[in-house]
């Protein structure tokens, strides 16, 4: 465990150093995130003109969901996205060999090798939205702390979905497009699940692309409105998805034939 932590810290230090070369671009990323945050806030407010509402959620409760969504997508830009290109390159050129012979878990190595600061502004703006919404709803600090538990499940679910799709790189090098489909679908997570029409929409966004578990459940916990059924579903999904991602990676490796074969 200590070894893994030491490896992790050197991975992150080196990749941060290499990204710091692009300072102007970081400024652009901050502006872009700010634009997104302002736009999303504005977009949400549009639903509340003329007695409208989002599936019965008052504005600041819905803002909480939006904050969780923004934080999660920022985290995924920091931790997950920068590793994808690497995985593809390793699979394509055959350098995955060198990863596989290292005395360290290959899934760990591939998922943590790089981080990128580009998503940090999103995390900051997401947390600010949560803070502002919590302040306006005068939520007690303890419920916010409790919400960290389902939020950690959300991180696990998002990671597992992402890594399972990234494993497809063993067969299909254009896997970037596959993860873009995932990102496109995850965009539904900026709204509470009740904002979506019942039926096909809710089924897809609860069980297939589980944005209901990713963002609505943590928000519900913060609001002290969570039901045991939803919590159990989220916890089970997190565990199941993580185990599946590990099993799927091992399955994919069986088809890995290195370069020139």
């Amino acid at each position: 465990m200590r070894r893994y932590l030491r490896v992790l810290s050197s991975f992150w230090r080196t990749s941060l150093l290499s990204e710091l070369e692009y300072r102007l671009n970081f400024l652009l990323a901050v502006l872009s995130s700010l634009g997104h945050a302002v736009g999303n806030f504005f977009g949400l407010s549009l639903f509340y003109h003329g007695q409208g509402s989002l599936g019965g959620w008052p504005f600041f409760q819905a803002l909480l969901v939006m904050g969780v969504f923004t934080t999660l997508s920022g985290l995924s830009r920091v931790l997950l996205t920068p590793n994808l290109q690497r995985i593809v390159e390793h699979a394509r050129t055959g350098t995955l060999d060198f990863v596989l012979i290292k005395p360290i878990d290959s899934q760990f190595w591939l998922s943590t090798r790089r981080i990128s600061p580009w998503g940090i502004p999103d995390v900051v703006f997401g947390l600010s939205m949560i803070g502002y919404a919590a302040h306006r709803l005068s939520l007690p600090a303890t419920s916010l702390l409790w919400a960290l538990v389902p939020l950690s499940w959300s991180c696990v679910i998002q990671y597992s979905l992402w890594f399972t799709l990234a494993s497809i790189a063993i067969w299909y090098v254009k896997v970037h497009n596959v993860t873009e489909v995932l990102n496109g679908l995850l965009a539904a997570g900026r709204y509470p699940i009740d904002a979506l029409p019942p039926g096909a929409y809710r089924f897809v966004f609860t069980f297939i692309v589980p944005v209901a578990l990713l963002t609505t459940v943590p928000a519900r916990v913060a609001l002290a409105q969570a039901t045991p059924g939803w919590l159990a579903l989220a916890a089970a999904f997190a565990l199941g998805a993580f185990l599946f991602s590990r099993a799927f990676w091992r399955f994919a490796l069986r088809y890995y034939t290195s370069a020139s074969s």
Binding site: Y22, N25, L31, G39, H49, S53, E180, G184, L185, A187
Partner: protein
């Protein structure tokens, strides 16, 4: 005199044929792009449901039609040249293209045009699925509206292409030119009418959006398809002006950039 356009046309047709074959080969990738742009369909669900309880400028069914049209319009105005161009410059592969007696931009343009054709079947499938989910929303735009929308969409495509190609030229100066496109897209997302029809915007924001080129890329073409009133002449003029401006700037930047590129000299 008459042989020159004829030869240019011949080259263009060959370019398109090659490009189409290439795009058909990568159709799986293109289909994934179509599926990645489902945001309008998510908003379709959210807005149509919100309109059942709230009082908005559009009814539930109108929202459904609006976002189906946004999905379709976006498929035709989606431009990706900046990522390809950045890759060409950063990797140095631009050099190979410069050896040919053809400006690489025509290759990109042919790629974008033929890629639209490959998209069509899946776009039609998705639209069919939406109507299957919401049979009440089914409608056929009037042929005249389709014609007018096609003209506007064609110009929107050209204008957007030159605007992005202009920004691509920054790749000669920065390794991450695509970051500027991300910033542009953020503004585009919220001012073009992609997240909601401008009718539900507060008056001041709406007036501000109308001053930018963004609504002409999504909102106005969609309104044409829906048979709503649109000042077509003004829309065509605005897009033509932006397209022409971007075209001229792009040409200057291309020349300057090439000097710099050769100065870097691999």
């Amino acid at each position: 005199m008459s042989t020159l356009p004829k030869r240019a046309l011949g080259k263009w047709r060959a370019l398109c044929a090659v490009s189409l074959a290439n795009m058909l080969e990568y159709r799986a990738e293109i289909y994934l792009w179509v599926l990645a742009s489902v945001l309008p369909l998510i908003l379709l669900g959210v807005w149509s449901r919100a309109a059942q309880s709230g009082a908005f400028a559009l009814s539930s069914v109108e929202f459904i039609r609006y976002f189906i049209c946004v999905f379709v319009v976006r498929q035709f105005t989606f431009i990706w040249v900046i990522w390809e161009f950045e890759e060409l410059v950063v990797s140095g592969n631009l050099s190979h293209q410069l050896l040919q007696p053809l400006n690489p931009v025509w290759r990109f343009l042919a790629g974008h045009l033929t890629e639209r054709v490959v998209r069509l079947p899946l776009v039609a499938g998705v639209v069919g699925l939406c109507f299957a989910l919401y049979p009440a929303a089914f409608w056929l735009p009037r042929p005249m509206d389709v014609l007018r929308a096609t003209a506007l969409l064609g110009l929107a495509f050209i204008a957007r292409f030159w605007l992005q190609y202009m920004m691509s030229m920054l790749a000669f100066w920065s390794e991450r030119a695509a970051a500027i496109e991300e910033l542009w897209f953020t503004v585009h997302l919220f001012l073009s009418g992609m997240i909601a029809p401008l009718d539900v915007y507060p008056e001041s924001v709406r007036r501000f959006a109308e001053l930018t080129p963004f609504p002409y890329l999504i909102y106005h073409p969609v309104n044409l398809l829906l048979g709503r009133e649109v000042n077509l002449q003004r829309a065509l003029l605005v897009l033509a002006a932006w397209g022409a401006l971007a075209f001229l700037v792009q040409r200057r930047l291309w020349k300057r950039g090439l000097e710099r590129y050769s100065a870097m000299g691999s």
